[in-house]
Each structure stands twice: as structure tokens, then as C-alpha cells.
Symmetry: C2
Subunit: 144 residues, 2 copies
Amino acid sequence: MTEPTPEQTERLAIAFERFTRRFKVAEAAAALQNALNALDIQALLFINERPECSLGDVARHLQVAMTTMSSSADRLVRRGMIERQRPEANRRSVALTITPNGQEAVAGYMDGYRASCRAMLDALDSDDRATFLRLTELIAKYED
Amino acid sequence: MTEPTPEQTERLAIAFERFTRRFKVAEAAAALQNALNALDIQALLFINERPECSLGDVARHLQVAMTTMSSSADRLVRRGMIERQRPEANRRSVALTITPNGQEAVAGYMDGYRASCRAMLDALDSDDRATFLRLTELIAKYED
DNA sequence: TTGAATAGTACGAAAATCGTAGTATATGCC
DNA sequence: GGCATATACTACGATTTTCGTACTATTCAA
């Protein structure tokens, strides 16, 4: 397989910066709506996808100090969005699970995210849309 | 033009989440390298693209309080990455310009960004790559 | 020319992040 | 089993960041 040229990479970088900016704005708006900061919403998304995960899991995933994650969990518990449990299997750790309240916040965030994605697809006609999806999924799979 | 189906939107949302996560990691790494926080690096990128811009311009663009932006500028000046000037045209405002030192930091950040973009293109063969670029640029243009 | 609007800064309060030290639990080795 | 060590987390305090309020300097407009 041939390599992408520097020009191609540059073109993609420029085009992509526009998307990511829009996503960021949508993200910030969603966080604001629930009065959550950027870290807390990311933590909530992770906990939603991985029920019973530990504090350490989240801290590693988001690359923050353990104590920072502990504070974030405090805030999420205080807002009734997650619960801390002591699993019998390993009573040192905590198992984090999302509450209905937290799921609501996640749904709100995902709606905004989907709206951004939809806006992208709106720019394309039916054929191009199918092609774009195929290629995007190809890239997503490859990156693993 | 037909509308995207909810299924298509969902597929794109899922695929896209992987990209943005990778970009975020690269971003965090770049910021860490220069000991800049997320806001400061975004401000620096904006100032790089719009020399002589005002503090208010940056604050509006990044959706933060004016005072927050003032503090961010303080930090960037202290690190020798930007300069504050009083333009004669309007002596209330400040014109922000990047320094060679700041340009270096921007270049480092952009390198990481380009690497992420390149990794995406690496997943595709030559034909698909050209198609993907065309569609991505179509979307970027449309979104304006 | 004087009153209102604009652009930014100073300062202090609130929040977030992180490092250090501590507690509780688990594991390994004798 | 018993004891040292490692793991998972929390408490607490220091530092940094964000932001609101009040202030200064400059511009605009009637």
C-alpha cells in the first residue's frame, strides 16, 4: 500500500481541525448544561461504558492522578450520577456504576455528539455518505 | 438531497469517537511537553493563526471569561511565547502576536496533530485516500 | 465636552489538580 | 499462620486555574 503524501496529510489536518472545533463546542455546551467539567463528563462516559470499573481504570484511561479521579468521583456521587461500591472480590477497590441520573447526562451528551455527526453527513449526498461511512469505519478499525 | 438515517449517524458517531480519543491523547502529550494547559495551547494556536488579534477575540473564540483569557495571556507572556502590544489605532485593546518561542510550541503541537491525521490516511489505499480527502473537505466547506 | 460604551487589568473567592502521607486489604514467602 | 510488601484508595494541604466584581484607560457620540 502506498503512503500518504505530506500534502494529503496537510489537507486532512486542515479539514479536520474544523470538525474537532465544532465537536469541542458541542462538548462544552453539554458539559455546561449539567454543570459538569470536562474531566467529570469524560469519566462519566467511561463509567457508562464499563460498569463496575475501578477508580484506577478511569484515572489511567483519562491520564490524571489518582487523587484527581477520586475528587471527580466525589463530585459525581454528590450529584447522584454514579455510585461507589466495595466489591467483595477485592475490598480495597471501588466499583463505579452509573445511576439513572448519570445515564440522563450521558444521553444528553451523546445527543449533542450525534448532532455533530449528523451535521457532517448532511453535507454529503446519498452515495458519498455511504462511501464516507465505509472509509471512516475502515480507519476506526485499523487504528486499533 | 436525502437525509442521513439515524443508523448512519450512529455508525459515524461510534467510529468518530475513536479518532477524537486519539487526537485528545496526542493533544495532551503536546501540551505536557511545553508545560502548557489546554486553554493556553488553544489560545496559542489561535494567536498563531490570527496575528494582532485582541484578547477579546481569543476569549470569544474559546468561550471563556475575559479575565481567564487575561490570565492565560499572562502565562504565555511569562513563558515568552506571545507579546502584548498597544495598537495606536485603538489604545484600549491589546494586539497579541506569537514569538519564535511560541511558534516552536505550535510546530510541536501541529506535528502531533499531523501524525494523527497521517495515521488515519495510512489505513486507506491510494484510491480510498483520495476519496476520503475529497469528502472530508466537502464536509469542512459545508459546515461553514 | 461630557456621558456612555468598550477593552482590558487587579484582586479576591471558588474550584480543580496534584503530591504526600495515611488506611485498609491482598499477596507472597518463609 | 505470620509478616513484609504491594495494591487501591482517601484525607489533607499546596498550587494553579477560572471567574466575578470593581476599577482604569480609551473611544465614541450627541
